[in-house]
């Protein structure tokens, strides 16, 4: 197994369960028995850090570092530095993070859903081709452009997962969702329409003059 096995959704879940820091140490690029797994690990950790920052977890709690199996001193330095960082930050959801417990736990549940979801995984899986040989139109992205795209997707995907999270509890109208999530109704409306089209939500009924939406179970039999 390789650092490439690292699944960001599992990472978010581990934090939700109480992890305070995660250090991933892989081989140097181009110097790995598994050839390219470390590139994947780095891209995934980088994306997860951006998502963490967005939801209020201090991104320093997550790190990707590299050293070779012959570099004991380097490894010790990496571990000690990370250890010091986490001790300084303290337990998750305390002074070290922008959002506190217990709200943070809910945010991490959202993050897990984002990281397990199709869009994020697709984009990150395509990072290497996007930044080296280009997308299907042959457009090549710079690292900076790619990260900007990732940031946009993070914002959208988080909001979508928050909507789904709310609907999981009960059917709600656009106005109700906008109220509890503090997202403008127009954006909520756009998300809900898209979710409806993809078969994730359906109209449940009309309460007063506003339609209410409910979640459709996605279980595959």
């Amino acid at each position: 197994m390789c650092t490439g096995r690292l699944d960001p959704a599992i990472v978010a879940k581990a934090f939700k369960k109480g992890l305070d820091g995660l250090l991933v140490v892989g081989c140097y690029f181009g110097d790995c028995h598994y050839i390219s797994g470390n590139y994947q690990a780095q891209a995934k950790i980088e994306m997860t850090r951006r998502l963490f920052e967005h939801i209020g977890v201090n991104p320093q709690r997550l790190a990707f570092k590299q050293c070779s199996s012959g570099e004991a001193a380097v490894f010790v330095e990496i571990v000690n530095t990370f250890d010091a960082t986490i001790r300084e930050l303290g337990p998750l959801g305390g002074d070290g993070d922008a959002v506190r417990n217990p709200a943070l736990s809910e945010k991490l549940a959202t993050a897990e859903a984002v990281l397990a979801g199709e869009k994020m995984r697709w984009v990150i899986g395509k990072k290497t081709p996007f930044t080296t040989s280009g997308n299907m139109y042959g457009e090549i992205f710079t690292e900076h452009e790619f990260n900007r795209a990732i940031d946009m997707i993070i914002v959208e995907e988080t909001e979508v997962q928050e909507i789904l999270g709310q609907l999981r509890q009960k059917a709600l109208s656009v106005a109700e969702l906008a109220g509890s999530l503090a997202i403008p109704p127009a954006r909520i409306f756009r998300y809900v329409t898209a979710l409806k089209r993809k078969g994730f939500v359906a109209l449940e009924g009309i309460s007063g003059r506003s339609p209410k939406y409910k979640l459709i179970s996605q279980e595959v039999s």
Partner: protein, 564 residues
């Protein structure tokens, strides 16, 4: 599919003292007490040496008498001992993949020798995680795949030809693909070979003759490999030959593409006439040196051991000393000086050749790379550190010893075969000590200067070595593959999108049309179990045997609860 029926799980935990290697630094009793409290653990035992015969017998006894169906050993590193413990489980009738190893020596007692309490705590966490994973382990079966008993050798230099002959003599078919017109490689351009001073053309002719005469060897010259598909035992190789493209089924591949000498443009007034390389000198010596040449100055480490090429090409010193001796013997009137930084004359024979050269009157002057020699019209200026002053050496002929470099097309070959090259462009072996002639990818081997500049002796030895390594799968006729690989665990979920296929570093995944539509297929033999695919699939359809999401999460949970 449920991963287990929790109630039937009976875990045995064996904690090794490793003499005092572990027991001297950890609280072993506390570890055993802890293990007993973990779910599904029905048997815990401490052993002085779990890997000793008595330790192994204890494991077997535990499996038989305690009805254990999962075994955890907390001891040293799986790199050295996992095979032993696994086979012990198998001998006692337990599937070897229901075994889990926890390393409390390297990761605890060795690295935290002075911190008994913390080290014990860490060992508790690791053991807790190992037990949690063991409970979810599933039996696996070793994968067997057939091997086509035909070898492909790319490159017809002395290394490749030696490997080809060795394989052919063992009875395997060999296909040699050489891009040049003739076989022989670098030997075709050399004069005499040190240290024995055998004529290079003789060695080449002798070897080529044997190769051509061997019924099992097929040679394609002015040919190159254009496509390689498949994996160990079942490569499908396309070779562009003089008579068109040929598709050949191949079992193993040997890379023996050699290296090429640096042409030192712009260094020391290189002009290919009065200032030449050792490579050019070989041809000049074969034709006979110009009678007017009375003073030869050789300069070592030209274009190597600098910022651009930090490596020492290792054989240029031997070449210079050899050619200096040849000149002194054939043209006793001609003086030869070698300006060097360090002489790289490893081995008994080279050392003897070095001494011979001094006896033959070759002069050696050490130079400092910060103050390199200056090549002038008919002289070479150099600072002589022993005399403590600048000297001017007469020079009718200046010979530059330049390094052998990776072939210009090595990168293409590397992409074709999906094998790595190092920072200098030479092919990179699987492990410098443990797998020096194998690539990390199974079924592909390397030898000779393609790996790193080698002299003939080394190139031959490596050719024989690579052939020997390659003979293992060829003689078995099949390969056994570790079943810790990717599996399509949820076929219905797979949409056949191909995201994983593009990311797989081993070409081990492909999308196939099935009755249920497009689905990914794992080529078991090619998969190395790295897990990129499982970590990327948004349908969560792929999993890795013995590293499933559930197993990893169980370890995380154990870690978080053992040490809240």
């Amino acid at each position: 599919m449920p991963e287990n029926h929790a109630s039937d799980i009976r875990i045995g935990v064996f904690i090794c003292h490793c003499g005092s290697n572990i027991a001297g630094y950890l609280d072993m009793e506390a570890l055993a007490d802890f293990a007993e409290t973990r779910p599904h653990v029905v048997f815990v035992q401490r052993n002085l040496y779990t890997c000793s015969e008595s330790g192994i017998n204890e494991i077997k006894k535990g499996i038989q008498e305690q009805d254990l169906n999962r075994v955890v050993v907390a001891s040293c590193t799986p790199r050295t001992h996992e095979p032993l413990f696994r086979s012990s489980c198998a001998e006692a009738g337990l599937n070897p993949y229901l075994f889990e190893m926890v390393n409390i020596r390297d990761q605890c007692s060795w690295v935290h020798m002075q911190e008994k309490t913390d080290a014990t705590e860490k060992a508790r966490e690791l053991i807790g995680m190992g037990i949690a994973k063991a409970a979810l382990l599933q039996p696996q079966e070793i994968i067997l795949s057939e091997v086509q008993t035909r070898a492909l050798v790319i490159g017809g230099g002395i290394a490749g030809l030696t490997a080809s002959l060795s394989l052919a003599r063992r009875g395997y078919e060999v296909v040699v693909v050489e891009k040049d017109q003739a076989l022989g490689g670098m030997l075709n351009h050399l004069y005499k070979l040190g240290p024995q001073m055998q004529a290079a053309k003789e060695l080449a002719a002798e070897t080529v003759q044997k190769v051509n005469a061997h019924p099992k060897i097929t040679v394609f010259t002015r040919a190159h490999v254009t496509q390689v598909k498949g994996f160990i035992g079942k490569f499908e190789v396309t070779v562009e030959t003089q008579s068109g493209a040929k598709k050949i089924d191949i079992g193993i591949i040997i890379v023996a593409t050699g290296a090429q000498p640096l042409v030192p443009e712009g260094l020391y007034g290189y002009d290919g006439k009065r200032t030449v390389t050792q490579f050019q000198l070989e041809t000049m010596l074969a034709k006979g040196l110009d009678a007017a040449v009375r003073h030869v100055v050789m300069i070592q480490c030209v274009g190597s051991r600098n910022d651009e090429r930090p490596f020492c090409a290792k054989i240029c010193c031997q070449t210079a000393v050899k050619n200096a001796i040849l000149i002194r013997r054939q043209y006793p009137e001609t003086k030869v000086s070698i300006l060097y930084r360090d002489m790289q004359m490893y081995g008994v024979e080279n050392e003897a050749m070095f001494r011979d050269s001094k006896a033959a009157g070759v002069r050696y002057i050490n130079y400092d790379p910060a103050d390199p020699p200056q090549v002038k019209a008919d002289k070479v200026g150099v600072y002589h550190p022993l005399l403590g002053r600048k000297m001017e050496l007469a020079a009718d002929l200046v010979v530059l010893s330049t390094p052998l470099l990776a072939r210009e097309d090595a990168h293409e070959t590397s992409q074709l075969l999906r094998v790595p090259v190092n920072e200098n462009g030479f092919f990179l072996e699987g492990h410098v000590k443990l797998k020096p002639l194998d690539f990390a990818t199974d079924g592909i081997f390397l030898c000779g200067s393609a790996r790193f500049p080698a002299n003939i002796r080394e190139a031959v030895a490596q050719g024989l070595g690579a052939a020997a390594r390659a003979s293992i799968p060829l003689s078995k006729g099949s390969v056994e593959v570790e079943p810790i690989i990717s599996v399509l665990a949820d076929e219905d979920a797979c949409r056949g999108c191909g995201l994983c296929v593009a990311l797989c570093p081993y070409g081990a995944l492909e999308v196939r049309q099935t009755e249920k539509g497009r689905k990914v297929h794992v080529i078991n033999v090619a998969c190395k179990g790295c897990g990129i695919c499982a970590a990327t699939c948004y349908q969560h359809a792929l999993s890795i045997n013995s590293f499933t999401d559930r197993q990893i999460e169980a370890q995380i949970d154990a870690f978080l609860t053992v040490h809240p």
